[in-house]
């Protein structure tokens, strides 16, 4: 690099990693459009996501034990400029997002060919990369307004991606429209919240915000801002009762899109919630407000039970999983509501574990849709016998969704139950395990359909193509691997939880 002439200390590649993390997928999108070839589009997208995955892994290893990396965009020190700030909490979420995107792309190759018209493929992948960029940008940034900008990049591309399901079912369009309206209201609420904060503090940098709120105390404006940020992000996170857009969007979106959305987009919103709850507003503030106990806890519990209950009665595999997602988001909120180290660790690790679990399940359904053209149970009878390699990962994902020991889902539920006991809320602990039983029911329904019913007459189904099987099996193995070797997610999650609970974002100098 040509930095030798200037007195400025040339940045090394390692120092540039935080921005490259977002920049690599970002630049891919216009490149795809510029080149305009759909095979190249896929290849570019895949290569970019692999690079991004490697970077996010490197970043996570750097902050795994604590501490943070700050990157000043444009060379302007915050609060004047925008800052990227990586710590264990967002590094873990970024690893999840980049891993899922990297695995979704090979899966998408065949699925998109099947579900979307060939002439739209190039733009589809461009949109996909934009969505991915937006998610990464939201997670990595340390600037409150920058969150909004990248949130909108991902949201706009998400609306379009969901609408691409219109080729199979026209309801994808209204799903996308509803999502657009709800999502925009949510984003606007978020902007109002940021505005209130800005009004009371004069800054947009999260660390600076935290500092000023901690030093100057709160007032009614800041508290109202808090409410708007929670509702705004709650809409994006499909927090009960703001989840109404989710079932339709997940059901009618193209399979590959559902995989990406279910595994990453709500997690991103939960992460932002966490960041604002704990890092910008400090834990004492929240504790005084008692908002956790009075608001999050009941909503989380209602979500866990009502959404699971609805899921039990679904006849469409995809829609069942969508409702299950709402319930699982309830678990994450419950972990926040516990307000202790184990609870937050549980939330963080459940974000990760549920991400990989749902990804494998939706991929499985996508593979079945590719082969049978339907995700309704009565068209999937006995497929476990004709395409065992395709269906087995679904079973593993299902077990992880239930939280059977030895799977990733178990680890997070364990942490949540443990957190409940640490607070002495044994009643909540029992509710958590009881709601898992509902998961047993809806997962087992699918498994019985896939294995125990007789396949339809003359079913001669081939296994899903390799490009689908490989990512599915990687995720399925990850579901088991992270259920046993919990070092990576649990270690990072507990560091993250410590960072969050210590309050003001990055004020640990």
């Amino acid at each position: 690099m040509a930095g030798t002439v200037s007195p400025h200390d040339a940045k090394t590649l390692i120092e540039q990693l935080p921005i490259l993390q977002v920049l690599v997928p970002f630049c891919t999108a216009p490149l795809i459009v510029l080149i305009g070839n759909r095979h190249m589009a896929w290849l570019l997208a895949f290569v970019a996501s692999v690079i991004s995955l490697v970077i996010s892994y490197v970043l996570l290893t750097q902050v795994y034990g604590g501490g943070f990396i700050s990157y000043q965009l444009g060379g302007w020190a915050p609060p004047l400029g925008i800052e990227y700030r990586v710590d264990a909490a967002n590094a873990l979420v970024m690893l999840l997002i980049s891993a899922i995107a990297t695995l979704t792309l090979p899966f998408a190759y065949e699925s998109v060919k099947d579900e979307i018209k060939a002439k739209d493929h190039t733009l589809f992948y461009a949109c996909f990369m934009l969505c991915y960029t937006g998610l990464m940008g939201v997670v990595i940034t340390g600037d409150a307004f920058n969150v909004f900008v990248f949130l909108e990049i991902s949201s706009l591309s998400t609306y379009v991606l969901v609408a691409q399901g219109a080729g199979r079912d026209k309801r994808a369009l209204t799903a996308a429209y509803d999502y657009l309206i709800m999502g925009t209201i949510g984003a606007t609420f978020f902007v109002i919240g940021i505005g209130f904060l800005f009004m009371s503090t004069g800054t947009l940098n999260m660390a600076d915000l935290a500092d000023r709120i901690a030093n100057e105390g709160t007032n009614r404006t800041i508290r109202a801002g808090f409410a708007f940020i929670i509702v705004g992000m709650g809409l994006k996170a499909a927090m009960y009762p703001l989840h109404l857009w989710l079932p339709k969007a997940y059901t009618f979106a193209p399979s590959a899109v559902t995989v990406l959305l279910s595994a990453t987009s709500t997690k991103m919103a939960i992460y932002v919630l966490l960041r604002f709850l704990f890092s910008v507003y400090n834990p004492e503030f929240i504790f005084e407000l008692n908002v956790m106990f009075l608001v999050f806890m009941p909503l989380a519990l209602i979500a866990m039970f009502s959404a699971s209950f609805v899921a039990v009665f679904q006849v469409n595999f995809k829609r069942m999983l969508a409702y299950s997602s709402i319930a699982q988001i309830g678990y994450m909120l419950l972990g926040i509501a516990m307000f202790n180290l184990s609870g937050l660790t549980g939330t963080m690790v459940h974000m990760f574990n549920h991400g990989i679990t749902k990804a494998v399940l939706f991929m499985g359904v996508g593979a079945l849709v590719l082969r049978t053209g339907s995700s309704f149970y009565n068209n999937l009878n006995g497929l476990g016998r004709v395409m065992p390699l395709t269906v087995a990962p679904i079973v593993i994902g299902g077990l992880s969704l239930i939280g059977v020991p030895g799977t990733a889902g178990f680890v997070s539920k364990w942490m949540l139950v443990q957190a409940a006991f640490e607070n002495g809320w044994w009643f909540i602990a029992i509710l958590i395990v009881l709601s898992s039983l509902l998961a047993v029911v809806y997962v087992w329904r699918a498994i019985e359909v896939l294995y125990l019913s007789e396949p339809a007459q003359g079913t001669k189904m081939a296994e899903a193509p390799m490009s689908m099987l490989i990512p599915m099996w990687i995720l399925a193995i990850a579901c088991i691997w992270f259920g046993v070797a919990t070092d990576l997610p649990l270690g990072a999650a507990s560091t993250a939880a410590e960072v969050l609970l210590s309050g003001s974002f990055g004020m640990v100098e």
């Binding site: 307004f145 706009l156 609306y159 369009l173 429209y177 679904q314 006849v315 469409n316 149970y377």
Partner: protein, 145 residues
């Protein structure tokens, strides 16, 4: 609540009235296009709130005057309004129009597929489709969609 307070806050309350009018249109209107109009009004009202944060009484637009040679001259007596909210809102306006154009494009597609842009009718059509799904797939499984 003294007079100063009211005079200093009445602007905010106006913005809030506008915001809520916009939000009301979004939530209550049945026509998809009108919903988008409502969304625009809602957002624009929020933008006004932001811009008003930056206003300083007696201030002027944050552009430094320059003389013919192009050098900047700074007059310490001039108070400039806060430029930061302007920047934020420039971005937000662009985001808003992007959302609007996407929403409208979706509406056009919806009209082509469903032949209506009224949410009442759409809900009805969707209910029919769902109950058809149920009949086809649900009865066999003893569940509902």
């Amino acid at each position: 609540m003294d007079w100063d307070f009211i005079a200093g806050h009445v602007n905010y309350w106006m913005f809030i009235v506008l915001m809520m009018t916009g939000l009301y249109i979004v939530v209550s209107s049945g026509n998809l296009v009108k919903k988008i109009v409502g969304l625009n009004i809602f957002q624009v009202a929020v933008f006004m709130l932001y811009i008003s944060i930056g206003k300083i009484t007696g201030g002027t637009a944050p552009i430094f005057p320059s003389n013919s040679k192009g050098y900047l001259e700074i007059d310490p007596s001039i108070v400039y309004s806060n430029p930061l909210p302007h920047v934020l809102i420039l971005t937000a306006i662009v985001v808003g129009v992007a959302t609007t154009s996407l929403g409208l494009a979706l509406i056009i597609r919806i009209r082509e597929e469903f032949d209506t842009v009224e949410s009442d009718d759409l809900v009805k059509i969707e209910q029919q489709l769902t109950s058809a799904d149920n009949k086809e797939h649900g009865d066999a499984m003893g569940g509902m969609a």
